[in-house]
């Protein structure tokens, strides 16, 4: 049963191709980045169902079609320059373009988008795609699109993107020829043409993103859908080596065991709507990896941590500040303070932060601490020793880490400001009931990233929707966990549960012994190094 295209040529249509990674983050990231430009799917554009040669496709499809009213698109975006000039500087660390941005510059901020094309034809089969493309100029938007192309294009090429299926040169040329009716001016140029067309033959993917086997009894299975259009942004794959962000971030000078992987922190700052001039805060700043991404996106950065060693880094050349310096950013302000006592350290008359983005400590890689002592009797520190006395800290239960984080966020975020945090989750985690809550905050997105069979993590995005009443603090804190201590336990004891799960697996004993030996070797190496430097 063929699904006929509802893709109207009276509208401006864009086909987005996603990477096959972080699947749950893709739409939230896209929606967040669009909202930075005040674009909402459903209000300013619509999502059109993908054509499909199979009635029900269970597996994930890495495509999405956004359809814009042509006049809206013309007003909002710079349509003329998009893809007609090869853009070497994609301005990924987007300061919001106050003049009209191109669609590519808007969308390329999404880490998970590979490319976008101006859709000229689409259908559940090759022939229906060609037929749909033939009708391009019958629609008002399509006609102008074609006219523009006739004017601006002086050289072009058609790239065939077949998702795993191989076609020989002759077959590829046949496919290209089917679109020759456009009669574009200029010549075919393989290297750096003024614009590139993409002919995509979509096939079904398995859960890992590998195309399902296409051959059966020596016959090639029909495609799932076929698309044809003009590449926006002048680059075929935004995630290739041309991208600066991820790869340079990996080279930053100060990295620690808890440093956020670069890609996730880029996604988190998108979900948090960090833009030029955002006041950004990370209460558990650690080595500053997330804060750095905020800085790269033009945010003003403040970070706090209770651990002075992490704040100071390994040396003057290897610390949070040196990372910022390496990327030529203004230094962040760092403070050694205790998020459990935020209200004690900081005067909070007015909400100040636009974004709070953080990876709180859970005891998996870094134990959480807070001020105070585990001792029964609190001893006063003698006056003469106060200045140098290193204040004691005690264990900070995860349930309190999260409760305090939400409460501080509710109090210090501006209205509409976002909190983005990570929470480790085992599989038995009820997103509805096990996440921490706060009356002043509303959940905008929850995205799951699987890490191992048993363990994954969720990135939670919350929006401030209600003003904070300081007199209700106790009441807010006591309602954080709907299911009470049970939910907090699910996050809190993950270290123990991970350990238990690991012990049940074969080979655990050997692995543990091996790791112990390696730690010993590393310790001895370090001792030798230090002895040399003395």
């Amino acid at each position: 049963m063929e699904h006929h295209s509802e893709i109207s040529h009276n509208r401006y249509n864009v086909l987005i191709e996603f990477a096959h990674i972080h699947l749950e983050f893709q739409r939230p990231e896209l929606e967040s980045v669009l909202s930075l430009h005040d674009i909402a799917i459903g209000r300013d554009c619509i999502e059109v169902p993908l054509p499909s040669s199979i009635p029900t496709v269970e597996n994930y499809r890495p495509f999405l079609i956004l359809s814009f009213d042509y006049h809206y698109a013309k007003e909002k975006f710079n349509l003329d320059d998009d893809g007609y000039v090869i853009q070497s500087d994609m301005s990924r660390f987007s300061k919001i373009d106050r003049t009209k941005p191109t669609i590519a510059s808007v969308l390329s901020r999404c880490t998970l988008i590979r490319s976008a094309i101006e859709l000229w034809g689409a259908g559940p089969s090759f022939d229906s795609c060609v037929e749909h493309a033939r009708q391009l100029s019958s629609g008002c938007a399509g006609r102008i699109t074609l006219e523009n192309c006739m004017k601006l294009s002086s050289s072009w090429k058609i790239t065939i993107h077949t998702l795993g299926t191989k076609f020989n040169r002759e077959e590829q040329n046949d496919m290209r020829m089917k679109f020759a009716f456009f009669n574009l001016p200029g010549k075919v140029q393989m290297v750096n043409p003024t614009n590139e067309f993409l002919l995509i033959r979509e096939v079904e993917l398995d859960p890992k993103g590998t195309p399902l086997s296409q051959e059966r009894d020596n016959f090639l299975s029909p495609p799932l859908a076929v698309y044809y259009g003009r590449v926006l942004g002048g680059i075929r794959d935004w995630r290739g080596n041309g991208r600066l962000d991820q790869f340079s971030l990996k080279k930053r000078s100060y990295l620690g065991p808890t440093s956020m992987d670069a890609e996730l922190s880029l996604i988190m700052t998108n979900l948090g709507l960090v833009r030029n001039g955002s006041f950004c805060f990370d209460p558990f700043v650690g080595t500053g990896s997330i804060l750095l991404t905020c800085g790269l996106r033009g945010g003003y950065c403040v970070g706090t941590d209770i651990d002075i060693r992490v704040l100071r880094g390994r040396s003057d050349e290897e610390n949070v500040l040196s990372n910022f310096k390496q990327f030529r950013l203004n230094r962040p302000d760092l403070i050694r303070s205790d998020n459990a006592l935020y209200h004690r350290h900081y005067r909070m008359n007015k909400p100040i932060y636009d974004v709070i983005v953080t990876d709180p400590p859970y005891g998996i890689r870094a134990g959480a601490r807070k001020s105070g002592t585990k001792e029964e009797k609190i001893r006063a520190i003698p006056e003469d020793r106060r200045h140098d006395h290193i204040a004691q800290t005690k264990v900070y239960p995860v349930s309190d880490v999260m409760g305090d984080l939400l409460d501080v966020s509710a109090r210090t975020l501006v209205m509409g400001g976002r909190l983005v945090y990570i929470i480790p989750s085992m599989r038995d985690f009820d997103v509805e009931k096990d996440l921490p809550n706060h009356e002043c905050l509303e959940i905008a997105h929850v995205c799951y990233q699987p890490l191992q069979t048993e363990l994954g993590r969720r990135v939670v995005v919350m929006k401030k929707v209600k003003e904070y009443d300081p007199s209700l603090r106790e009441s807010y804190l006591s309602s954080v966990w709907i299911n009470g201590p049970e939910s907090a336990e699910k996050c809190a004891n993950i270290r123990e549960r991970l350990l238990e799960a690991a012990k049940l697996k074969p080979g655990y004993e050997e692995k543990a012994a091996y790791r112990k030996k390696r730690r010993q070797i590393t310790r001895e190496e370090k001792k030798k190094q230090r002895a040399k430097h003395v």
Binding site: N276, G277, F279, Y300, V302, I306, I308, L311, R312, L321, N330, R331, D333, L334, I335, R336, S337, D338, L341, R344, H345, Y346, R347, M348, N349, K350, P351, I352, S371, G372, T373, E375, I378, R379, A380, I381, R386, H387, H389, A391, Q392
Partner: protein
């Protein structure tokens, strides 16, 4: 530590009556120019306590004069109040310099009530309270 950060720091050590604003006793100050964003400075004005900014800048100026260590830092003149002030770009630029470009790298923040000192080292103030102060 920038003056913007100092604007929010307080001491609530047990028994303190008024631990704000903290007195800045700077031993090392640095100046680092940063790009000016008028919109951002404007957005900060409702979020800060302006009188604390003036006090902070006074304490830093005193220190600069005393040590004869101007280092080419010219502290801009700020008006007594900005409530009814027309927020022209000139004023915003001065405010930008004062809030963002002056860094207290070494020194202490001192509680005006109890004298409790919070050390600033390598630009990072240490606000951690001891167990008996909570």
């Amino acid at each position: 530590m920038r003056l913007l950060t100092h604007n929010y720091l307080q001491s609530t050590v047990k028994g303190t009556e008024k631990g704000y604003p903290l007195k800045i006793e700077a031993t090392t100050i640095e100046y680092e120019e940063s790009p000016f964003d008028a919109e951002f400075v404007r957005s900060l004005i409702p979020k800060i306590d302006y009188s604390t900014v003036l006090i902070g800048i006074q304490q830093i100026s005193d220190k600069l004069e005393e040590s004869n260590n101007i280092q080419g830092i010219t502290i801009p003149d700020l008006p007594e109040s900005i409530e009814n002030e027309d927020l022209q770009e000139d004023l915003l630029k001065k405010l930008h310099t004062v809030l963002f470009d002056i860094h207290v790298v070494e020194g202490d923040l001192v509680c005006p009530d109890t004298g409790r000192r919070f050390n600033i080292k390598k630009g990072i103030p240490n606000m951690i309270l001891h167990a008996d102060e909570i």
